[in-house]
Every structure is written in C-alpha cells, then in structure tokens.
Subunit: 368 residues, 4 copies
C-alpha cells in the first residue's frame, strides 16, 4: 500500500490533477484472460461524469477512457492495465486568486500546510475528478467478478437515500429506478422532493449533504481477512477516504447502538438452498459477521457532507493566515456532491469485493 | 499489510487465541532510543482488562505483559518489540458443545465457513482478548509520540457517550470523569443511568449497545496521506475493524448529511497562535480536512452493537445448518462490550497518529 | 512488508535478540486445515542448531520450539502461527567490553550508527540466532507445499559446495550425503578436505568462507510475479539479506557473463511428459525464465564470507571512533558460518516457493 | 508491494508493452517542493535508448518523456508523478509467427504458461523497453537525493567491466570515460577489445554476456532496514529482477567465499573526517555491513547473460510443445544487452538509495 494505491492483490493506483493534461489509473493484479474493452469501462464513467444533468457540476468532460496496456486481442494479459482520460475542458485562467486563499471545508489549508505547494486549479489532486480512476477500476473489477464461477452473480448497486432533509423510503428501493432520475434515488417517490431541494439550495447559493447506500448481493460467504483486513474495515476505510464522506455504517449501523442483543442479533434458520447466506432471517449485520461476508446482502451507508463550495459569504483566511471574506467561491461545482458519489462508491465496492475474492483464493477455501 | 498486521511504518502484528497458552503483539518500526518499560504498558492493559468491575466480563485475567525483545537498558533498540501476555484463566471444559453450533451475531458461522476449522474455546481468534495487543501497541505509540517534539503534546482520550438508551451530554465531557466510573463515561451526570441500564439488561439476560467517542488533541496539522491512506480513511478502517463496531463518524458525521454547506463549513479566522489548528471557529470537520489533520481536535464516534452473547432464547443453526434453539449462550461475557471498547479505540487512535507521524517525516515537512 | 516481515501472502515476522529471554516467529497467511505440530518444525531447527558438532559454534541451545497459536487439534486455523524458542544458554557477563568496540566485519558499527543504541550481547538482533525463525517458517512452508496437489512433489535441498579453497564436485551431488557429514556437503569425496580446512583455520584462530547451493525440484512452472516480484529477484533479495551472504547467482550465474547466446540458451525439445519443465535439455537458466519458474530445477548458489569473528589481531575502532587493537574476538563462534547457512537457505527457499504458490492462486492459473 | 511496483516509500509502478501505444511510470511518495522538469529525466532516457549507436538495438525510439501529473510550477507537489513515453516506432507486422513459438532463453514459454495469453509483439511486457520506466524513476530519485542535505553528495555511477571474454581493469576505472565510449566501459584501455568482441559476435549471428559494476559514493552511513529489508537484500532483489541478470555480488562477492576472516574483514582506523565511512582501510564489504550502509562506497556487480535472441539455428518448441528449429530469431536486438543494462542498473540504484533515505527519516536518526 502506498498513498495513491488501493488494494492488496487487485490494486489500483490513480494519478493526475483536475487541470493537468490527463488523469489516469493503473490496475495491477488483475488475472489474465478476462475479456475487457474500453466499452466495458466507458458506461461507468459516463454515469459519474460532471455535466450529465442540471443537478451536478456544469463542467462538461468527455471523460473518454483509453486502455494503454494490459489488454491484448480483447483479453487481459495479467500485466498492468493503464487507463488514461485526457482533461479536455480545463478552465483555469483565474486560479491565481484561488492559490492564495483557503476555502472553508476544502483541501486548501491542509494540502498547503502539508505539501508547502499546491496546484490550485480546480482542486488539483483533491478534485473529485480523481474519482474517475476509482470508477474505471470498479468497471474492471466487475469484469473480473463476472469471469469467475464463484462471483459471477455478484450484483452491486447504489442509490441516494437522503438528500438535504428528504429521506427515501428504503422499503421502496428499486434498482431500476436509480438510473431513471438524475439524483440516483432508488425510491421513485422521493425524487421530486430531492430535485426541489437541490433547486432551492442552488437558488440560495448553498449546498446539500446526503446519504448514499451501497448494496452488494451475491457476495459469496467467506470474504474478508480478520483481524486487520476485515471486509467491514476495508469498506469503511475506503469509503471514508472518499472526499466529503463523514460517516460510514454497515447493516443496522448507528441504530445498533440503541438496540439490545435480543433485538440486534439476526436469527438463523436452516437454509433450504444449503447456502449460509440464506439462513439469516434479518440482516442487521449488513452481510458481515466478524469481518467476513456471511452470504447475505452487504449493506453500507455513507454520510456525505454538503459541497463546501458555496455562493454565500464566508469567513476564511489566506495562506498568510490573515482574515478574508469570501463572497462566493468561484468555479463550477455540484450543489450536492453526494449525487455523484453514488457511482463512485458503487465502483469502489466492486474493487473491494474483487480484491477479497483474490485473497480468498489464497486460503484453503475450495469453492474459490 | 497482512491480515494480522496493522500500520505502514509503525506496525503491529497480533497473534493468539482466547484459550491458547498466550497472546501477543509484535511491534515493528518503532524508532530507537525511546524509553520503554513494561510499566508503561501495564496500566493501559489494566484499564481494558475483563473482571475489572461488575459492568464487564467476570473472567479475571492478570493480563501481565512481558517485553521479550526490542528494548535494551530501558530504551527501544529499533528492532521488533515482542510483547506476550499469558492466558492464565482459560476455562474451556465445555467447548465441545459450542464447537458445533453457530451463535447468532458471532464469528462462529463465518469463521467456520471461511476456514473450515475453528478454535471454539472462548471465541478463539475472534475473541475480544485479541484487543489486548492493540492496547499494548497503543501504549508504545504514546511513548513514541511523547518522545518527539512535534507530537509531545498529543493527548488522546475516549469515553462512552451512549449506552442503551442513555446519552451523555457532550458539552459536559470531562476527561477526569472517565476513569472515575466503571463505564468510562465522560459525563458524570449520565453515569447512574448507564449503570442502571446495564443492571437492567443483565437481569433480563440481555445486552446493550453504545457509542464511543475518541478525541485526539494536539495532533499536529499535516498528518494523513491522500488519496488512499487518508487520516479519516485509516481511522474508519481500523475502528470499523474492531469487533462489534457497526458505524464510524468523524466530526459532524451523519448529521452533516442533513446540513447545508453554509452550516457545515467551519469558518476560519486568523489564529493568534500562528497555528492553523487554532483558526477554525467550529469543528464540524472533526479535525480532518481532505484526509489530513488540520490541527484542530480529531473527533470520532463509533457505534457498537450489543454483545451478541445473551441469555434469552434464540433461533440458530449448527454446523450442519440444521435448526437449533439456543437457551442462553454460556460463558462469561460483557453485558455491553462497548464499555471495554473505550480503551481499545483510544489505544488504536494512538497507533494511527504515531504511524502517520512517521509517514509525515518522509515528506518534506520541516516541522517533523 | 516491514523491516522484520518477509513475504507477501505467506509472511513471517521474526523478533528477538540473541541473549534476550526468547526469540520467535509469527507466520501469517498460512491457509487453514494444514496438519502441523511442533514435531514438524523441531527437526529443521535441530539441523541448524549451534553446538551440533565440532564444526559449528560450541554454544549449545536446546532450541525447543513451541507453537503458541494458530493450530487447533493438529491443524492450522488460518490465523497467525506464533512460534517461540526460549534462550536457555545466554552467557553474557562480559558484554560491557563488547558494547564499546566495533568488531571488523560485524554489525557493530552500522547498528550503533543507525540506531544509536545496540544490544551487544551475542550480537543482539544481528545474531545468527535470528535465523531460527526463518528455519521454523521454512518447516511450516514445507507442510503447506505438501498439502496442495500442485506443490506436493516440491523437494528442496541444499549443500555446501565450497569451503575455504575446497570445491565439491557438483556432478557428484547426492542428497543423502548431506546429512551424513557435519558440513552438509553433498559430495562425499570433498568432506575430508573440508573438515581438514576447518580444523586448520580453527587452529590458526581464523575462519573460512564458502558457497552454498540450493536446489528446488518439482517447483511447478508458472511461479513468480514480474516485473518487480520475480522469482529470481525474490530469491536474490532474501538470500543476500542473510547475514554473511555477499553474492547470489542462479543457474549459470556469473559464468553466463562469459558465454555466448548460442552456448547459454537452453535448447528445448518436446517433453514426453507433456510438462514444460521437461522440455529443457540443459539448465543454464537455473529453472527460471523472465522471473517465472519454468518447471526445471531451480538452482541457486550463495557466496558466504568467512566468519568475521577471529582470534588473530585486528585493527579496529571503538564507539568514539578511536583506534583499538582487537586480540581475538571473544565469544563462541562458528569457524565457518557457511555451514549453518545451509539449512537456513534451504528453509528460506521453502518460504519463497510457498508464497509464490499462493500468489499464483490469485492468477487465472487453473492448475493451482 | 505489488508485482509491478517497486519500493516502500519512494515507489514506482511501471506499465506498458513494447508495442502498445505507450509505456509509463507512476512515481509515488516523492516529497513535495523538489524541482523537477522533463529535462531532468530526458538525458537519462537518452543514455538508455536503443538505436543510440551500432552496439545496441537498431530500433530507434525518440523515448520522449512527458510529465502528466505531480509537478506544478516546476516543483513536485507530493502527489503521484505520472510519466509517459509514447511508442512511436513499433514494427510488429510479423508477430503472428512469433506468437506460436517459444524462443530459447526468452519469456515466451513462461509467460505463456503462466498467463495463458501473451502479447508477442516485441516481447510485450517482458521487453527491455519496460526499463525506460526504471530509468525515469532513477532520474527523479537523483533529484530527490540532490534536494536534501544528507544525500546531496550521493554520486552513482555504473560501467561495463566485462564483455564477452574482455575484462576491464577495475583499477583504471574513470567515470568520465564511461560516456566517451559506446559500451559504457570505465576503462579506456578495454574499449577497443570490447567493440571488437561485439563486432565479431554480430558477424557470427551470436551474442555476448557481460558484467556491470555499479558504484554509489557518498551514501550516508545508516541506510538499510534489517533484517528483511536490508540494503544488500534490496539491491540484490531489484538487480536480479532485471531481465538477463543471473548473478549479483557486493564488495568482494564470490571471491569472499575463498578468503579467510583475517583477509576479508576490513580493518578500521580513526577517520580524520569524523565520518564512519572513512574509517575503513579496505572495502571488501562493498559499503554495506549487516545490511546497513557503512558510509564507504557501495559496490555491486551483476552478471548479465548474453542476449537470447541470436541468428544461429536453435532447437526449440512451439506453444503445443512440438519441436521446431529456429533459424535466426527475427526482430531488432542488442548483441549484448549488458551494455544497455548499465544506465538501467545505475538508475535503479538511485531509486533504492532514495527509498532507504526516506525510510531512515522515520527512524530516530538525527542526521536525516
């Protein structure tokens, strides 16, 4: 593990700044002979892309991915898969002003403090643009999972279940709904209120937070490496490491703190299928017991803070630590970064499952 | 990183099962010439120990730590510090019964499924006993932090802020209170209600969940390694990987999802001290911006599920996946594992800060 | 990887100093359900043990290994295997004198310079005693290899092929001979001359270097992870990292530098067995092509310097960098450390093959 | 560490195949604020480039490096430095024939066996072209070393000291000579004979092996991380992992095996400079004691096999393991790959020293 590489066996390294010539991702550890083409990755990037609709950042990027290595005649070769996306729409004329100020809630102050230098154009390395690499890695991970018998039926989905004050009804989750609305909400009944909340916040020059839920079905029991590389630990570590995420919970999550053991334990009954995952009568565990998948659905929720870039006046300081007042942080921003976090977290989950699947193959687990 | 090793530079590896001859911890990467003795570690273990009082597991362990290597004439040598704690009070006569059943909410089913074999005595490797190693590593980490100028004033504290339905009042947090009550609660006003809740749950053969808050003060700005080894990501990954933790939040956490940018951003004003950490007028960020410490207090909360071992009847299955009814899970257990999680999470935070401090020394950060 | 941990999936961490209370080894990543007992490990340690005969260090250690974790009812559990060996025969009364001087060819000067402090008793951490952990890990690795179909027929052997000026005849290598003489020489015809050389050097208060050859047969084709974790690279890195090793060569080794391509390439012919490894008509490659095992015998030779501890007078300096003359370095030492390096290198090869076998299982290699 | 990433703190990941659209290198862990431009890297690549002269492969590549990230306004930002080199001169029309045969001494058989698929164009991933990334990383490492006080005077040089049967005279080593002849020989007196040997081998359709020596001066004492990440171990692991290297020795190397302790130990005398490195009166240790640099010159030699691609007829097999006769392996090849290995090994040494320097900063070594 190094600072810009995620994973142990299925690893990916991202590089690039928002307004440099390109960004990219190098995937290492992907087994050979897995069919892979740019057309497997592009749709994932298209979902994440800014400029997709009125609810997200108006910056329009083609985000056209090219595979530069690791694929030959349509299949992976077992060697690093280098993916590149050119930055075609950098607009960074006025970054000099941004270079000397610290925007509240942003990376500006800490990046400057840590590195002593900072590429201020569009957030530089701290830009959400970096997440394109995560999404691309997730697309490759899905191909990997689809290739092996034990993971062929893994399905990973994600949706926005809260936005501003609007809550989706979890019981009305419908995967098909997610891509039929611009906020990736799985509950059709909540979409209009969410859209209205975004419009209202935009009009006020303000921004909204939200909650993203990720669900992974068909994850085989037995993934996770206790005690320091547990499935729940890895998910939490990766997800909390995404920009703007301030909380992660699995299964009953924070609600479990208020339950009794008799309420929180998931009762088990003999599974007709013979599969452990079908034994659980409830899923307050969120599909993970003692850091190992139990075969039930893995359910994770992330709290995402409101976009720190807002139009209203804010108190801040500059690089000399002197007071400044910010009247609207310039640039093009999402009013609610939680929306675009949906496909990113979904993709990251895929990379995690793929990595633990490979790790499980090094164990004496005959089904893998 | 391997499954039983945490950290990148200041690493620790734990080994041992609940009822084996001993458990232990090997710390690697600790710089040399740091004063260290068993008496620096023992008090930390004593706080975590079962049998300390009526609120925690009645199993009584001496938990006497011995340093087997890495220290010479009172100082660290730069070589692995091997710590061992003998298991003196194993009572495992009736484990054969436990060996064939899966207790709800426990590691039984997933460990058996993954490994095909399981040491059922006292939870084996999944026992909370493993956390003694984490606590010992935390004690060493505190010595390390105390040795260097830049981290000398780091103070890490932790307390139980919710237990069952009882909430502590965060505004009444007092570090001194924490060790003056058996539930590690920082709010003296909540202690009686918490104790009553424990008694009530015990009487009912049931258990309680809770919330632990960890606070790290004096953490210098500039710790954390974006984008895949961020301070927030590492904390969440480590903390969620502790038994029974089901949620982690930093700063405003899940509440941030319901705020607007104008409410959630922390305003900054010129710090008289000249220190970045003093610029923030609020701390909804929880001391971390973009994965890097900002010099303000690092604040983390963990949701901990109720102890899965309960006395009331539960539906479960055995290793053949056949139905069984469990009438009270035997053994000696904490009615609320969240209590003993307090010193463990506190110690784990120390190891994380120490590791990121060493990582920061490899950067071009002159203050370290 | 940390400084005291070797391997990626099958990892082992050693700890302990020569004259501390014990030394040990923690093996992580070993799959579960592999039969393992102390009696599998002890014979390996016995071969390495000092005091075994007149040719090696007269220090007598029982080197009795205990398994403290990771094994339950005779099989591995998939959790860390902690091995401990107590130091029963430390004789360190006069180490104060050693503490202030730098013995030529020893770790004294660099350890002191790097760490600022040093346990001088018996070499401390730099003692050959540390290698007991490597040998124990090798014994476990052999059990692992024996457990899986693909690696069941791996045989690893090692012998001393040069000692002082005496060369063994490689064409007369006989595995059975190795344990029938005190210098682990595979050529019965060279044993007497080697023994005489040792006696002569001892009498002169001097020491001898030598060459150890390690042969691994039955290594399946396909092990190794180009381009930075190649099989040859890992072997060289591990072997050169053993005390006193100053050179490593594989197959034709340094001789290859003087050959032409037409002489050095190994011709191939259709293997009747259908196995790639049987296609090679010669083995100048030493069983490795482009960093991957080719199925032929893996052959490695290590040059080992003479024991630096000698009785003759030497010029040296002390911790203040002032001149001193050393009249015989005290303590009990091997006149030729290369002898005891034989079982150590053999064991290390086993750990490497086991680790790469597990890595190969994460690839799409159906035979594993 | 993953298969295509080298290093622990100063890491680099290479990607790309010989005849794909591009090759590249992502450097992570480089501290910020180090001046860096493409013009710092390009000269290193130019030295390694094929087509430089008659002695190396006639393939002509521009090998023009572009920095895509991690540098802003002329200094490193602390984020990944992505380097890309386009492949402008791929000539791969006839690779279909190569795809089905295994060339002796090449990666063909083992890559095919391991991965089941192989990009045969120009050697694909196993091509020497991959080493451009190593050279680029070395150039960045030199900038890093030049930036810090403790490493400012590190000088790394390398030369070809044997080619075919021709030996350079080590006592006549002159750094300036190295770039004044096409075979990077440091001994002007050996150049003509080496050139004649190359011509003769080319005329015979054959190839030559050789020995490269790398010397690192000014390496501060105290670098290296015993016992599993020693400086000598890392050098040997990295160097042996370079294509065609079959042996590595440090200092006296294989010759040490034939010496006595009294001959091999380096005597020490009080250094007037007060520097440990100046205390050694001889350097049979090659600048490394017990895995840690001792401040003296680090001296390493690598045996490099003759280029396996030759024009003379060879016995081989195809992918079906059937016999074939190869009458001259097509393509453009170096008659002696050891020549181009010179700048590659030199650059790799730079990355190793840089990485261990950063590691040493995490120790309590005040000079760093």
């Amino acid at each position: 593990m190094s600072s810009n590489t995620a994973g142990r066996l299925f690893t990916f390294t991202t590089w690039g700044e928002s307004h440099g010539p390109a960004i990219g991702c190098v995937i290492d550890g992907c087994p050979s002979r897995i069919p892979l083409a740019e057309s497997d990755i592009q749709p994932w990037l298209d979902r994440r892309r800014p400029g997709r609709n009125a609810q997200v950042s108006p910056r329009r990027e083609e985000d056209r991915v090219s595979i530069l290595s690791g694929v030959f005649e349509g299949v992976t070769t077992g060697h690093p898969i280098s993916l590149i996306i050119e930055n075609t729409n950098q607009r960074s004329t006025d970054y000099q002003k941004l270079a000397s100020i610290f925007r509240p809630g942003h990376a500006d102050a800490t990046y400057r403090h840590k590195y002593g230098v900072r590429d201020p154009r569009g957030g530089g390395r701290s830009s959400a643009r970096e997440t394109a690499g995560r999404v691309a890695a997730g697309a490759v991970a899905m191909r990997l999972l689809g290739h092996f018998e034990a993971t062929r039926s893994v399905e990973i989905t994600a949706g926005l279940v809260a936005l501003g004050g609007v809550q989706a009804d979890a019981s009305r989750w419908d995967d098909r709904t997610i891509d039929q609305n611009p906020v990736f909400c799985p509950d059709a009944g909540a979409v209009d209120a969410m859209l209205a909340a975004v419009e209202e916040a935009k009009a006020a020059g303000d921004s909204l937070g939200g909650v993203v839920e990720v669900r992974a079905r068909g994850v085989p029991a037995g993934l996770g490496e206790p005690v320091y590389d547990r499935l729940d630990g890895r998910i939490a570590g990766m997800f909390m490491g995404l920009n703007a995420v301030k909380g992660v919970e699995i299964g009953a999550g924070f609600a479990a703190a208020g339950l009794r053991g008799s309420e929180n334990n998931d009762p088990m009954r003999r599974p007709e299928s013979g599969k452990l995952g079908d034994a659980f009568q409830t899923n307050r565990a969120g599909g993970i017991l003692a850091g190992i998948s139990n075969g039930d659905e893995v359910v994770v929720r992330c709290a995402i803070k409101p976009t720190p870039s807002i139009g209203v006046r804010q108190k801040s300081i500059d690089v000399n630590l002197d007071d400044i007042d910010l009247d609207g942080v310039g640039g093009r921003h999402d009013p609610a970064v939680c929306i675009r976090a949906v496909p990113v977290l979904q993709a990251m989950m895929a990379t995690i499952v793929a990595d633990f699947f490979l790790l499980a193959r090094t164990r004496n687990q005959p089904e893998f």
